[in-house]
Amino acid sequence: MADLDATYAAFAAEHGLESLSGFAAGPLTPLLVEAGNGTLGPAVRGGLPGGVSGIAGHLAYTRNATFRFSVALTELPGTTEFAPRLFCVRRGRRTRDDEFYGFEARHSKLWTESAALNERYAVSTSPFQDPNWLRQLFSPAFVDWLATEPPADFSFELAYGALLGSIEEDRPDAAGLRALCEATSHVAERIRKECEE
């Protein structure tokens, strides 16, 4: 834990961020819900590498086993009316179990139009998400970037105006945190641009 604190403190100093011992993000995205009240600790706040303002921190929770993530959280106001929910989760990552006694709310569908994207991620949305908006968001350039550029274990969740990028690093170094923040910023910028259009 001391190493983790030192890594975040150094990261904060390097990028002029505010160091926080803990931050309760709240149940903003499914991953944060898994962690109870979404408490990050340690955490840093301010203008993250890549350009967005937000919070980066360490998220850990225990469900049979202990799961640890490094996450970057930012707000994207105005996205909900275009895409209430958009989850782009690395294939193989375990998130949550949605089986409910045989009957469940019809709450998500997989976006499978891009083979390149599907090789690396499971992309899910509301079952009534506008497919044209998704096609425009996932432009060939953005799909190519998602498939090749972010850290190998990168995933993102956009939910009701909150964007959470995450990697499955339990002891990230400064370069890993910077890559996470830059990838999250890139996704945020792409989504923001598409909403503006």
Binding site: V33, Y101, F103, S126
Partner: protein, 143 residues
């Protein structure tokens, strides 16, 4: 709501066990009791099947409204829940609808939602909505 794999297994389980009870070669009163229980298990499976079929029909209608409806905006005015269905909150939503070609109006909806989504349904949130062109009260909320 939609049936999932667990639901299909449950229905098959009730049918098979019910069938086994009905055809079991047990004589006398015990046999009749067992057959009666088997019939009840059949009835449960039948009820589940009818419910699943109704939900499938409803889902097909929602898909039609989504594909053919008029797209608008729904602003959540009030959200709350006092009941759950299979551990998922049954949300009562009050919404202000802004649909092109229609007057702004306030409607109420009841919707079963996963816990995570229910936690995010707060006043002020704006969601897409699709309204049946032939029936303004028939709408699909994108949550």
């Amino acid at each position: 709501m939609q049936v999932n794999r667990v639901g299909i297994v449950l229905m098959a389980f009730f049918v098979l066990i019910g069938l086994a009870m009905v055809v079991a070669p047990i004589p006398g009163e015990a046999g009749w009791i067992l057959k009666s229980i088997g019939v009840i298990w059949f009835a449960v499976a039948g009820g589940l099947y009818l419910f699943a079929r109704g939900q499938k029909r409803k889902a097909a209608h929602q898909d039609w409204v989504f594909q053919n409806g008029i797209r608008g905006r729904a602003t959540v005015v009030k959200a709350g829940s006092s009941a759950t269905v299979n551990e998922m909150p049954l949300m009562k939503l009050r919404l202000d609808l802004d649909v092109p070609g229609q007057d702004r109006r306030r409607v109420s909806r009841r919707q079963v939602m996963p816990v995570f989504v229910a936690l995010r349904m707060e006043p002020g949130i704006v969601l897409p909505v699709y309204v049946n062109p032939q029936d303004p009260d028939d709408l699909v909320l994108v949550w």
